[in-house]
Each structure stands twice: as structure tokens, then as C-alpha cells.
Subunit: 356 residues, 2 copies
Amino acid sequence: MAEGGGAVEEKITMMHGGGGVFMNMLIRGHILPRFDAGGPEPEIPAEHMPDSAVIDGIAFTTDSYTVKPLFFPGGDIGRLSISGTVNDLTVVGAEPLAVSCGLIVEEGLPIRTLDRILESMAEAASEAGVRIATGDLKVVEKGKLDELIINTSGIGVRSSLLDANLESAGRSLESRWLTPLNIKPGDKIIVSGTIGDHAVAVMTAREEMGIRARVESDAAPLNGLMREALKVGGVVAAKDPTRGGLAALLNEWAEVSGVGIMVDEERVPVSEQVRSACDILGIDPMDLANEGKLVLAVAPHMAEEVLQSLRNHPLGKRAEIIGEATKEYEGVVVRTGIGGLRYLPMPAGDPVPRIC
Amino acid sequence: MAEGGGAVEEKITMMHGGGGVFMNMLIRGHILPRFDAGGPEPEIPAEHMPDSAVIDGIAFTTDSYTVKPLFFPGGDIGRLSISGTVNDLTVVGAEPLAVSCGLIVEEGLPIRTLDRILESMAEAASEAGVRIATGDLKVVEKGKLDELIINTSGIGVRSSLLDANLESAGRSLESRWLTPLNIKPGDKIIVSGTIGDHAVAVMTAREEMGIRARVESDAAPLNGLMREALKVGGVVAAKDPTRGGLAALLNEWAEVSGVGIMVDEERVPVSEQVRSACDILGIDPMDLANEGKLVLAVAPHMAEEVLQSLRNHPLGKRAEIIGEATKEYEGVVVRTGIGGLRYLPMPAGDPVPRIC
């Protein structure tokens, strides 16, 4: 940007928070270059923007939750905040140890509302077997905040199942953590269930959206589900498709691994309710955020067994192998129902702002 | 609170965020009881609300920064956010390892403003020798947030100086971390420099306050200063007097330790500028927030030497022994300049909202 004169000043837009191209540009252009110094070297390169950093063997992550409204079918900001942070630790191959609770509250919020949300955080933490160990409370004047923001950060330690899991891949890997760097052509891509549920649930809770699907958010801590997959073995990369959905996740994997990804659209599980909501709104379910789904890249010979292990867990009943890594294409390619091929681009941002 | 009927609904007030009586009631009444379960037991009891939790040997803390305005004499929200979290790790006896950066940005914030703040975070992290290892970015619609909130969480490991330091106390201690549980009658209370600078600097930056003191915020990472004290030894408790100031800190220490604290008012370092700003506004400097000061409880035979070590460090030049723990009184008692005694109560909240 040119200084002074008649230059147009660049400003933050909603798209910068959308988990897609604009957010990545801001993070890669303005944030990471300034922070890349000092202290011990991270075990997963920061430029790949892993869901958790690993420093001296400790997995460490942070997420702020600005979801609107605070309550939606299947969950609330409390459940979301614990699940999201537990999942960020889970997907690098860590077992969550503790999370923090940073509450930023608008003056005037009923204490009863806060109580419900705290209760929900406690329940989700108990599901995940993780302690809410430290916290902070700030209050902002009425009109200067939209009810409540929660930041949860988390720490975790290397899962005791990870070494054996990686060994089962049967080949040498780039990283001893779960990262897309490990993906090679032939690896199968598995999603643990239907996509888009969280985004549609939040949209229905916003009265202005005009859709009334009966869909519940999938918000859930996934460390238990992940343990089942790791016990089987052969998992080389994992991630939960939050902002920007499966489209952002797969594009990130293709970019980091340098390997193309082919997805069979008909095999991607989408509930009928989500499908019709997407049709009405003209949105691709691949772009929608999830808060209780795992995407795994698995060595081909282990994929069927990992799939079965997911399906045997209550949170993975509708798991599917949806595609594979391939050297035939660059980026992400979708085979459509009628047999055609289309590129699936990195979304500019999430179609639904403040989804998490 | 009675349910339904004509009951008055309890709501969050600005005082709940003020670091005093109201905040403690909310945390002890609504938050801690719900979170006290699951995962490994913390090494410092949660009910004492330590600045950092210690879980499986890892110190872990979180703080959100809502300071207004974003820039003030001597610092900005970026410097503050790194310093505050580094200091929370430091005061339990940990050496900071990494911090996170959770940015919550209002739509429309100039990217140039964000750049200045990120630069400032990087500088403070470099001063502290700590890596900004992980982050998150959320954007909220214009009018739904006041420019920018930053959450920084931090992880640390036990300082290599801590064991020898505790041994130098020359007595058995309740905790192997720095906590007020360790305080015994006779321990000297040391403050590392002038108090109230941060609060007055922020107040002068708010045009509506009508005071024009030339005071700079003390916001600084204190792990280097703390190292000097720990090298000497005999430090049994430490804390930085943020929201609620020295008054809240000392009352918390008296409550947790069950030992009274006597402070000699004339020995508490206060700059002339802060003193006169306080006179104009009718505020006690003891209630004002600091972001670059340490308060230490030190075994009596080590206190003079610790004092000298602080004074030899650029951040501790105006350190003073301001009082001592005593069994003669309960709570916190101040000996005034004219020789009288007054109780110093736990403040209801910070006199300056959104100070950090």
C-alpha cells in the first residue's frame, strides 16, 4: 500500500476472518513473518499453519469463538469453544491435557446466560476428559461487544498411540506428527461423517436467513474418535474442516503436500436437510464449516480398517472414504455425479460469517 | 437469585471485570465450581486463582486484552498482551516457552494499525525471548466490537533457578511453586518500582479523563527481572499487580496465606506525576493497575540482597521493601505517613475500566 497521498487504506473485511484465501494472505503476509523468531523451534513448520504448534514436545493451540447466535440447535458457544480447541490438539496427534477459558463479556449479559454456557463448557470438557485449568474474565461496555466472546487455548502431549500408528503407514514419513507433509499419492481421504451440519444449524438459528432445516450442529470433542483411528494405524494427516469447510482443508493439504487430491462427490456424506438448505441458498456444502468431523489421510492398505473403526464409534457412524491423493492432478479435483471433473478452489472465505 | 416471578435478573456489570470483590465472587461462585473436574490435578490449587495453572509440570495461562485506547504513552495493546502473559507465567516460577496470539478484529480496522500492533507484539516477545507459536484470527462486523481484542495464552516450564531459590528460604514451604501459600510472618514484601504508571498512562490517553500527566505505561515482560531475584534466592511468592493494583494483590495474599500484611505507605514508590493525577481524581494509587511491576514475598534474611539484585536491573531501579507479613494483624494494614494505621480493603473493582 502506498503511504499518504490519495492512497486507499487497506482495511480488515469480514472475508479476512473466513478461513480462506483472504485470511491466509493476511496471516502469511502480515503475521507469520513478524512472529518467526525467538524461543525454541516448532516441530511442525509455522508456515503450514498447523492447528496446533508443537514446542518442546508440548502441543499448543488457541481459538477465539465469536459465533452468532450464542445458542443454536445442537450446541452453543460453550460446547463449541471446548470442542474446537480439543480438536485442534487432536488433529496433530496430541492428547489434550488442559484448556483455558478466556471470557470476554458485554456489560448487561444475564448471569443466567453465562451460567448455561459455563455448564455447557464443563460438559464438553468432561466428554473430552480435559481439565479447564486456567481462565480470564474481561467485561466490555454495553454496545462495544456482541454479548460474549470466548477464547479457549489448549495444551496437549504426544498421543501414546501415535508412534505405532505412524509405523503402520509402512513407509518413511516427513514428520513424526500428523501433518499434510506426510501425504503421498495413493493415500485415502476419509471424512468421519456428514458435512455442513454445524453451518446449517447456525444459519437456521439466525432468523434472518429464512431457512428452517432441522439440522443440529455436530460440535463435539473428537479425541475419543481419533483414538479409535490411531489404534488401527496408518493415519498420516488429520484435520477438522472448520471455517472454509472441506474445500479449504483439501486445498491446504494439496498445497502443503504438493500432491493433488481427487474427491468423489457422490461419496461425500451430506444429510438431505443440509443438501436442500444448500440448494436454496446456492452454497456448496464443501465450503461449509463443521465442528465435529475429522478428515484423515490414511495409507491405502489401512484405509478400510480405519473406516470401520470410525464407523464403530458413535461420532463416526457415517464415515466414508471420499477420495485419494493422486499425482494425476494438481490441487483438488472433484468427480461429479455425472462423471465430469471440476476443480474445487480454495474458498475466498467462509460463506457464513461468525460461524465459530 | 429467585427464578421467574418478579425476580430481578442479575447481570454482568463493568465491576465484574475489575479484578476485585465482584470479579472474585463471579469466578468463585459461577466458574470454578463448574470447572473443578477432569484431567490431571493442578499443582497450585485452582481456588487460589494463581496467575498460571501448573498441569503435569507445564505452566499454562490465558489473558484477553480489551484495553482502550489501543495505543497509549509507553505502549499499546500488542506490547501489553505479550508482557501480561509472560508475567503470568513468570510469577509462579516458570520460564515462558511460547505464547499464542488470538486476534479478534472489528471489520474496518486499518491493516496498518494491525501491523503496528503486530510489530509491537514481536518486539515484546523478542525482549522476553519467547516465541509466538500459534494464533487465531476472527473478524466481527463493524459496530459489534471496539476495534481489537487480543487474547494471549502462554506455556512455560519450571525455571531452572526455582529449586535453589526455594531452598534459600531456609524453611519448609507449602508449595514448590511461587504462591502466597508459602508466605510466613516476617517475610518482606518488595515491589520492583513505582506503582500506577500503567493506569495513569492509559487514563491520559483517554481524552475524556481531563488529566495530562506525562507518565508512560510500565508494560514490560518481567522474566528477565525475575531471573535476577531467583538467582539470589529466598523468594517464596510473586505476583504482578494488574487490575485492582497492589491493594487487590496484597489482600489476595493475606487471604490465601492466612497471614496479615503490613505496608509502610511512605515506602511505596509512586512517581510525582502519578501522585498528583491520583490527587486530582481522588484515587488511591494502591488500587491502580501496573503491567511491568513485580511484587515479591522474600524470606527476611534474603530480602536486602534480593532488593539490590532488582535495583541492578533496568526494570527494577526503584525497587523498595514496602512492608512485611505479620501475625499482628489480619488482612492488609497500611501505616500512613503521619503514623496512623488503616485497613486497605480489597477493591470492589478497578477504578479504571478496560485498563488491560
